[in-house]
């Protein structure tokens, strides 16, 4: 499947700067969680903390690839266990220099591996891209319900 989000944005900053913003805990906590404990080294595990005490939620993170200033990839799980292929989402950032700036490609994928292949179709075209448009009429009907 195909729970997958992909984005591409242009950033008017050098890839080195963008990489730093994506990977350093100091900047991470500005754009994502409330607290980040992370070392950008392959195999390293860290945590992201959301919310204030005592209502905090801790997500775990495992760094998969860290190649400054080109690629950063990690898995993250929000059930508190160590993020592995079975329980987590894979996030990748690819940085490509473009003039004075950077093209940043982002993807979050997962749950594919968490499924049970023997029970699954060998049909990957039936992902969200196929499914959502077919459901649109149903949701519109729900939305227009009095």
């Amino acid at each position: 499947m195909t729970r997958s989000i992909e984005r591409e944005i242009r950033v008017e900053a050098a890839p080195e700067v963008v990489y730093e913003v994506i990977t350093s805990p100091e900047h991470l906590r500005e754009w994502w969680p409330d607290e980040a404990d992370l070392e950008a080294e392959p195999g390293a595990t860290g945590t992201l903390t959301f919310g204030a005490e005592p209502e905090t939620k801790v997500a775990t993170l495992t760094v998969i690839e860290a190649e400054p200033p080109r690629r950063f990839a990690f898995r993250w799980a929000y059930d508190g266990d160590v993020a592995t292929v079975e329980n987590s989402l894979l996030v990748t950032f690819d940085l490509t220099p473009s003039g004075d700036g950077t093209v940043l490609r982002f993807a979050e994928t997962g749950y594919d591996e968490a499924g049970k292949p023997d029970e699954m179709f060998e049909d990957h075209s039936r992902g969200w891209a196929y499914f959502l448009p077919r459901l649109a009429p149903y949701t519109e009907r729900l939305a227009s319900r009095p």
Binding site: M1, I5, E12, V17, W31, K57, E108, M120, L135, A143
Partner: protein, 111 residues
């Protein structure tokens, strides 16, 4: 935070196909669904159990079997969660862009 159970319930292609069939036919049983799917009736029944647990389908007795229908409110909720997750990443990416561009400008005061 998204609802993990709801996500993984809807994340499986066989279960999505089942929801599709149930919506198209206005409901169905494990037997009627298995006729349209390359999996056994037992496997279909197991998948229906997963969908039932997260409230995506509801069962009513129909003879020896159970008739399942889709809970369209819950399905709409699952779909809106997908949109929420996507929007959250869009916000994060906008923040990454803003932070990086601010740092870059600070490092090059002449440009």
């Amino acid at each position: 935070m998204i609802d993990d159970e709801l996500w993984s319930a809807i994340g499986d292609p066989t279960r999505r196909r089942m929801l599709d069939l149930l919506l198209a036919n206005g409901g169905g049983t494990a037997t009627s669904l298995s006729e349209h799917l390359p999996v056994t009736r037992q496997a279909v029944a197991k998948h229906l159990g997963v969908l039932d647990r997260v409230g995506l389908v509801h069962a009513t007795p129909a003879g020896r079997e159970r008739q399942y229908t889709v809970d369209e409110d819950q399905l709409a909720r699952a779909i809106s969660q997908l949109a929420t997750v996507t929007e959250a990443w869009d916000r994060r990416l906008r923040r990454i862009k803003r932070i990086a561009e601010t740092i870059q400008r600070d490092r090059e005061p002449n440009t």
